[in-house]
């Protein structure tokens, strides 16, 4: 059969290489391996963005019934990504700074940067400004789970924390201790810091 692209049930367009059986096995030849791995990383990043997913775990390729089913397996050709290969791919993503291990100090699960922390910082600041929340103190929860869905809905706390840290470097935010734990206050870019 000729290899062709495929649109999944969630409307994601898989490239034709995803229907090639050997794509799901870790290639022994270094050049082939790096080509295949690069393709996997692109697919994972695009799909994460498509579905707003932030985490991949090595286990996700082992059992059915998680958000990554239609990516990490291909039922049409009866293949699934071998977990040891997924683990290698995750390591590559971390080394290319496209993800971090989350929680830290393990290598089974990563936090995906389909937007880099720098980009999240700008998205965050943009949202705070446009929703009129400058100068007020907000809890993390108010940011990641706002009553009206925002570009930041569901953002994992570690990523939010990184974005705030980046903003505080340019004096646009400050983390503040409040009664329920931690909060953050954002400052206008002009005027008093």
């Amino acid at each position: 059969m000729a290899l062709s692209t495929h649109t999944t049930t969630t409307g994601f367009l898989l490239p034709s290489i995803h229907s090639a059986p050997p794509f799901f096995t870790q290639q022994p030849h270094p050049a082939s391996l790096s080509i295949a791995t690069e393709q996997w990383i692109q697919i994972i990043l695009k799909y994460a963005r498509h579905r707003r997913l932030f985490t991949v775990r090595v286990e996700d390729s082992e059992a059915l019934g998680n958000d990554w089913d239609e990516i990490l397996r291909n039922e049409r050709i009866n293949r699934k990504l071998i977990p040891s290969y997924l683990s290698y791919i995750l390591a590559q993503m971390v080394s290319q700074n496209l993800a971090v291990y989350e929680p830290p100090k393990q290598d089974r699960s990563i936090l995906i940067y389909w937007r880099l922390p720098e980009e999240w910082a700008e998205v965050l600041y943009e949202w705070v400004s446009s929703s009129g929340n400058l100068n007020t103190i907000m809890t993390f929860y108010e940011i990641t789970d706002p009553p009206v869905e925002s570009p930041l809905s569901g953002l994992p706390i570690p990523l939010l924390r990184q974005a705030i840290t980046l903003l505080s470097k340019s004096n646009r935010a400050q983390i503040i201790a409040i009664s329920e734990g931690e909060g953050v206050r954002f400052f206008p870019t002009t005027g008093k810091a």
Binding site: M1, A2, L3, S4, T5, S16, I17, A20, P21, P22, F23, F24, T25, Q27, P28, H29, P30, A31, S32, I35, A36, N78, R79, K80, I82
Partner: protein, 265 residues
């Protein structure tokens, strides 16, 4: 009172005269248009020529510039490399740039290098012809006719001119007579040639197993020992990167996929 059209024979005469004048007028109009077009064409040619002479160094040496130039030429329907052999005007005007054979060589290298990731440095001659034609903005049909088209013979000759470069460009003829162009400096041994030919057989799309190479004896095939088959395939897989491996087949432990024989939509 005057009758504009006249009467009787006079009307007939008049009619003939009128239509003759119209003919004259239309002739001279279209003549004008043709002259105008020709002069435009001439000035376009000279502009393009001036451009090419002026930027000759860039065209020859700067890949990005050359790419844009060929793109521009193909978008206006001029093949910059249609050269001496086909009697193209380019060569008459610009013998220095129009070294057709060598330029074709450059395009061959372009295609070979840009598809190397996909096929591991082995490309079927017909596929190469198709891609070079595409690169030159020529129609992709197989008849090999049409102005400035190129064929397998052209490619073979050009590949030979590339050999002094020592980059390993060679034509490999498979057992079944099909030709492939290899762009990696590596001897293709007999067994690999057999495997490549088998991988391209109708319906295979690059999929090869050890069993196939061993068991094919009944169908008048190889009858290789298991060790020989495994050795040849593993060489292609591990040393040359000409194959990818699939370890999730239902029946076979390992299925080898010859990337240059896989069909991508």
């Amino acid at each position: 009172m005057h009758r504009l059209n006249g009467v009787g024979l006079a009307a007939l005469d008049r009619h003939t005269t009128t239509s003759r004048s119209y003919d004259l007028l239309s002739n001279s109009l279209s003549q004008n248009q043709i002259t105008h077009l020709q002069s435009q064409l001439v000035s376009f040619r000279s502009a393009l020529t001036t451009f090419a002479i002026k930027h000759r160094e860039d065209i020859l040496h700067d890949p990005a510039f050359r790419h844009r130039f060929t793109q521009m030429c193909s978008s206006i329907g001029v093949d910059p490399l249609a050269g001496p052999r086909k009697g193209g005007w380019w060569a008459e005007l610009l013998p220095s740039v129009g070294d057709w054979q060598y330029e074709l060589g450059v395009q061959i290298v372009d295609v070979c290098v840009s598809t190397r990731e996909r096929n591991g440095g082995m490309i079927e001659l017909s596929e190469l012809v198709r891609l070079v034609r595409k690169l030159r903005g020529l129609s992709v049909d197989q008849d090999g006719k049409g102005k400035g088209t190129i064929n397998e013979e052209d490619i073979i000759r050009s590949v030979k001119t590339l050999s002094p470069l020592g980059a390993g460009y060679t034509i490999v003829t498979l057992n079944d007579g099909r030709k492939m162009v290899r762009s990696v400096p590596k001897e293709l041994d007999e067994d690999q040639a057999v495997i490549l030919a088998l991988a391209r057989a109708p319906g295979k799309y690059g999929r090869i197993t050890i069993d196939e190479l061993v068991l094919e004896r009944e169908r008048g095939g190889r009858g290789w020992t298991r060790e020989r088959a495994r050795g040849a395939l593993d060489n292609m897989l591990l040393q040359d990167g000409l194959c990818w491996v699939d370890e999730q087949d239902n029946i076979h432990d390992r299925v080898y996929w010859v990337t240059s024989a896989m069909k991508w939509d």
